[in-house]
Protein backbone atom coordinates (compact mmCIF):
# COMPACT_ATOMS: atom_id res chain seq x y z
CA UNK A 1 0.00 0.00 0.00
CA UNK A 2 1.25 3.47 -0.79
CA UNK A 3 3.57 2.04 -3.43
CA UNK A 4 2.29 4.61 -5.90
CA UNK A 5 4.17 7.18 -3.81
CA UNK A 6 7.44 5.27 -4.06
CA UNK A 7 7.42 4.17 -7.68
CA UNK A 8 8.56 7.04 -9.85
CA UNK A 9 6.02 8.20 -12.40
CA UNK A 10 7.24 8.16 -16.00
CA UNK A 11 8.66 11.62 -16.59
CA UNK A 12 8.06 13.56 -19.72
CA UNK A 13 10.92 15.69 -20.88
CA UNK A 14 10.32 19.39 -21.29
CA UNK A 15 10.44 18.93 -25.06
CA UNK A 16 7.74 16.25 -24.98
CA UNK A 17 5.52 18.52 -22.92
CA UNK A 18 6.13 21.41 -25.31
CA UNK A 19 5.11 19.19 -28.23
CA UNK A 20 2.02 17.97 -26.34
CA UNK A 21 0.76 21.52 -25.89
CA UNK A 22 1.86 22.77 -29.32
CA UNK A 23 -1.31 21.78 -31.30
CA UNK A 24 -3.57 23.63 -28.88
CA UNK A 25 -1.61 26.87 -29.26
CA UNK A 26 -1.56 26.47 -33.04
CA UNK A 27 -5.34 26.06 -32.93
CA UNK A 28 -5.80 29.36 -31.08
CA UNK A 29 -3.72 31.32 -33.54
CA UNK A 30 -0.10 31.18 -32.35
CA UNK A 31 2.49 30.75 -35.05
CA UNK A 32 5.30 28.20 -34.99
CA UNK A 33 7.83 30.96 -34.48
CA UNK A 34 5.92 32.63 -31.65
CA UNK A 35 5.57 29.33 -29.78
CA UNK A 36 9.08 28.01 -30.18
CA UNK A 37 11.25 31.11 -30.53
CA UNK A 38 9.18 33.94 -29.12
CA UNK A 39 8.72 35.22 -25.59
CA UNK A 40 7.82 32.13 -23.56
CA UNK A 41 5.09 34.00 -21.66
CA UNK A 42 3.19 34.80 -24.85
CA UNK A 43 1.20 31.58 -24.37
CA UNK A 44 -0.50 33.06 -21.28
CA UNK A 45 -1.78 36.01 -23.28
CA UNK A 46 -2.95 33.75 -26.08
CA UNK A 47 -4.88 31.71 -23.52
CA UNK A 48 -6.46 34.86 -22.08
CA UNK A 49 -7.34 36.09 -25.57
CA UNK A 50 -8.84 32.69 -26.31
CA UNK A 51 -11.02 32.91 -23.18
CA UNK A 52 -12.19 36.40 -24.18
CA UNK A 53 -13.00 35.17 -27.68
CA UNK A 54 -14.95 32.21 -26.28
CA UNK A 55 -16.91 34.55 -24.00
CA UNK A 56 -17.69 36.89 -26.90
CA UNK A 57 -18.86 34.00 -29.07
CA UNK A 58 -21.03 32.75 -26.25
CA UNK A 59 -22.61 36.19 -25.84
CA UNK A 60 -23.15 36.40 -29.57
CA UNK A 61 -24.92 33.03 -29.60
CA UNK A 62 -27.00 34.08 -26.61
CA UNK A 63 -28.01 37.25 -28.45
CA UNK A 64 -28.94 35.27 -31.53
CA UNK A 65 -31.11 33.05 -29.33
CA UNK A 66 -32.82 36.15 -27.91
CA UNK A 67 -33.61 37.44 -31.41
CA UNK A 68 -34.97 34.04 -32.44
CA UNK A 69 -37.10 33.99 -29.30
CA UNK A 70 -38.46 37.46 -30.11
CA UNK A 71 -39.18 36.43 -33.70
CA UNK A 72 -41.06 33.34 -32.51
CA UNK A 73 -43.06 35.42 -30.05
CA UNK A 74 -43.92 37.85 -32.83
CA UNK A 75 -45.27 35.14 -35.14
CA UNK A 76 -46.85 33.07 -32.36
CA UNK A 77 -50.38 34.54 -32.87
CA UNK A 78 -50.54 33.05 -36.39
CA UNK A 79 -48.94 29.79 -35.32
CA UNK A 80 -51.85 29.16 -33.01
CA UNK A 81 -53.86 26.19 -34.33
CA UNK A 82 -57.20 27.87 -33.61
CA UNK A 83 -56.21 31.38 -34.54
CA UNK A 84 -59.05 33.50 -35.89
CA UNK A 85 -58.98 34.24 -39.57
CA UNK A 86 -57.30 37.51 -40.30
CA UNK A 87 -54.92 37.22 -37.37
CA UNK A 88 -51.66 38.88 -38.22
CA UNK A 89 -48.24 38.36 -36.69
CA UNK A 90 -46.89 41.08 -34.42
CA UNK A 91 -44.23 43.25 -35.98
CA UNK A 92 -40.65 42.15 -35.44
CA UNK A 93 -38.33 44.48 -33.52
CA UNK A 94 -37.77 47.58 -35.60
CA UNK A 95 -34.22 47.99 -34.27
CA UNK A 96 -31.56 45.68 -32.89
CA UNK A 97 -31.12 45.54 -29.11
CA UNK A 98 -28.98 48.35 -27.76
CA UNK A 99 -25.62 46.94 -26.73
CA UNK A 100 -24.17 49.95 -24.94
CA UNK A 101 -25.53 52.29 -22.31
CA UNK A 102 -25.20 55.24 -24.69
CA UNK A 103 -27.09 53.43 -27.43
CA UNK A 104 -29.83 52.62 -24.92
CA UNK A 105 -30.00 56.27 -23.79
CA UNK A 106 -30.14 57.47 -27.42
CA UNK A 107 -33.05 55.15 -28.15
CA UNK A 108 -34.87 56.33 -25.02
CA UNK A 109 -34.29 59.99 -25.99
CA UNK A 110 -35.54 59.37 -29.54
CA UNK A 111 -38.62 57.63 -28.17
CA UNK A 112 -39.37 60.54 -25.80
CA UNK A 113 -38.95 63.02 -28.65
CA UNK A 114 -41.32 61.05 -30.88
CA UNK A 115 -43.90 60.91 -28.02
CA UNK A 116 -43.68 64.67 -27.53
CA UNK A 117 -44.15 65.33 -31.24
CA UNK A 118 -47.14 63.01 -31.40
CA UNK A 119 -48.73 64.71 -28.36
CA UNK A 120 -48.12 68.12 -29.90
CA UNK A 121 -49.67 67.06 -33.21
CA UNK A 122 -52.71 65.67 -31.39
CA UNK A 123 -53.08 68.84 -29.34
CA UNK A 124 -52.83 71.02 -32.46
CA UNK A 125 -55.41 68.91 -34.25
CA UNK A 126 -57.70 69.16 -31.27
CA UNK A 127 -57.18 72.97 -31.02
CA UNK A 128 -57.95 73.41 -34.71
CA UNK A 129 -61.12 71.38 -34.40
CA UNK A 130 -62.44 73.82 -31.79
CA UNK A 131 -62.54 76.73 -34.30
CA UNK A 132 -61.42 79.17 -31.64
CA UNK A 133 -61.43 82.86 -32.61
CA UNK A 134 -57.99 83.81 -33.83
CA UNK A 135 -56.02 86.60 -32.20
CA UNK A 136 -55.00 89.68 -34.16
CA UNK A 137 -52.06 89.07 -36.38
CA UNK A 138 -52.72 85.35 -36.64
CA UNK A 139 -53.94 83.90 -39.86
Amino acid sequence: MGSELVEPAPQLSYTEQFYNCFPFYLSIGMTYDQYWNGDCLLVKYYREAFDIRKKRENESLWLQGAYIYDALCAVSPVLHAFAKTGTKPLPYLDKPYPLTKKESEDIEAAKRKADRQRARAMFEAWANSLNLPKKDGER
Binding site: Q11, S13, Y14, T15, F18, W36, N37, C40, L41
Partner: protein
Amino acid sequence: MAKQITFEFEGKNYTLEFTRKSIETMERQGFVIGDIVDKPMLTLPALFAGAFLAHHRFMKRKEIDAIYEKMTNKEELLQKLAEMYNEPLEALMEEPEEDEGNVEWGASW
Protein backbone atom coordinates in the same frame (compact mmCIF):
# COMPACT_ATOMS: atom_id res chain seq x y z
CA MET B 1 8.03 39.61 -20.80
CA ALA B 2 10.07 36.47 -20.20
CA LYS B 3 12.83 36.46 -17.58
CA GLN B 4 16.21 37.50 -18.95
CA ILE B 5 19.73 38.01 -17.64
CA THR B 6 21.70 40.80 -19.22
CA PHE B 7 25.37 41.67 -18.82
CA GLU B 8 28.27 43.23 -20.62
CA PHE B 9 31.47 41.37 -21.37
CA GLU B 10 34.45 42.90 -23.15
CA GLY B 11 32.36 45.72 -24.58
CA LYS B 12 29.57 43.53 -25.89
CA ASN B 13 26.06 43.24 -24.45
CA TYR B 14 24.60 39.80 -23.87
CA THR B 15 21.04 38.71 -23.15
CA LEU B 16 20.41 35.28 -21.72
CA GLU B 17 16.98 33.75 -22.13
CA PHE B 18 15.37 30.36 -22.68
CA THR B 19 12.85 29.75 -25.41
CA ARG B 20 11.10 26.45 -26.02
CA LYS B 21 13.28 25.92 -29.04
CA SER B 22 16.49 26.45 -27.08
CA ILE B 23 15.33 23.96 -24.43
CA GLU B 24 14.44 21.48 -27.15
CA THR B 25 17.91 21.92 -28.67
CA MET B 26 19.56 21.40 -25.29
CA GLU B 27 17.56 18.27 -24.54
CA ARG B 28 18.31 16.90 -28.01
CA GLN B 29 21.99 17.33 -27.18
CA GLY B 30 21.55 15.30 -24.00
CA PHE B 31 20.88 17.95 -21.40
CA VAL B 32 18.69 16.74 -18.52
CA ILE B 33 17.72 19.32 -15.93
CA GLY B 34 17.35 16.57 -13.32
CA ASP B 35 21.12 16.03 -13.47
CA ILE B 36 21.65 19.39 -11.83
CA VAL B 37 21.66 17.66 -8.43
CA ASP B 38 23.77 14.59 -9.38
CA LYS B 39 26.23 16.19 -11.78
CA PRO B 40 26.29 19.89 -11.01
CA MET B 41 29.78 20.53 -12.39
CA LEU B 42 28.71 19.29 -15.83
CA THR B 43 25.17 20.53 -15.84
CA LEU B 44 25.61 24.10 -14.67
CA PRO B 45 27.99 25.25 -17.44
CA ALA B 46 25.70 23.49 -19.96
CA LEU B 47 22.71 25.34 -18.53
CA PHE B 48 24.62 28.61 -18.82
CA ALA B 49 25.62 27.80 -22.41
CA GLY B 50 22.03 26.89 -23.30
CA ALA B 51 20.84 30.33 -22.23
CA PHE B 52 22.88 31.80 -25.11
CA LEU B 53 20.95 29.89 -27.77
CA ALA B 54 18.01 32.30 -27.89
CA HIS B 55 19.96 35.49 -28.65
CA HIS B 56 23.53 34.41 -29.41
CA ARG B 57 23.00 31.15 -31.26
CA PHE B 58 26.30 31.11 -33.10
CA MET B 59 28.62 31.74 -30.16
CA LYS B 60 31.29 29.12 -29.67
CA ARG B 61 31.19 27.01 -26.52
CA LYS B 62 34.78 28.04 -25.74
CA GLU B 63 33.80 31.72 -25.64
CA ILE B 64 30.78 30.94 -23.46
CA ASP B 65 32.91 28.94 -21.04
CA ALA B 66 35.34 31.85 -20.82
CA ILE B 67 32.47 34.15 -19.88
CA TYR B 68 31.18 31.59 -17.37
CA GLU B 69 34.57 31.53 -15.66
CA LYS B 70 34.43 35.30 -15.18
CA MET B 71 30.86 35.41 -13.89
CA THR B 72 30.55 36.50 -10.27
CA ASN B 73 28.03 35.31 -7.69
CA LYS B 74 27.60 31.96 -9.45
CA GLU B 75 25.26 30.50 -6.85
CA GLU B 76 22.63 33.15 -7.46
CA LEU B 77 23.30 33.08 -11.20
CA LEU B 78 22.55 29.39 -11.39
CA GLN B 79 19.45 29.74 -9.27
CA LYS B 80 18.22 32.41 -11.69
CA LEU B 81 19.12 30.27 -14.69
CA ALA B 82 17.15 27.36 -13.27
CA GLU B 83 14.14 29.66 -12.77
CA MET B 84 14.49 30.90 -16.34
CA TYR B 85 14.76 27.34 -17.62
CA ASN B 86 11.49 26.38 -15.96
CA GLU B 87 9.60 29.43 -17.17
CA PRO B 88 8.67 28.17 -20.69
CA LEU B 89 7.11 25.07 -19.13
CA GLU B 90 5.45 26.89 -16.24
CA ALA B 91 3.84 29.31 -18.69
CA LEU B 92 1.99 26.37 -20.24
CA MET B 93 0.47 25.37 -16.94
CA GLU B 94 -2.78 27.03 -16.09
CA GLU B 95 -3.64 28.16 -12.60
CA PRO B 96 -6.82 26.47 -11.38
CA GLU B 97 -9.86 28.74 -11.44
CA GLU B 98 -10.69 30.41 -8.15
CA ASP B 99 -12.63 27.91 -6.14
CA GLU B 100 -13.30 27.23 -2.50
CA GLY B 101 -11.68 23.81 -2.86
CA ASN B 102 -8.27 25.17 -3.90
CA VAL B 103 -5.41 24.32 -1.57
CA GLU B 104 -3.52 27.27 -0.09
CA TRP B 105 0.05 26.47 0.89
CA GLY B 106 3.03 28.17 2.49
CA ALA B 107 6.77 27.57 2.87
CA SER B 108 8.84 28.04 6.01
CA TRP B 109 11.77 29.84 4.39
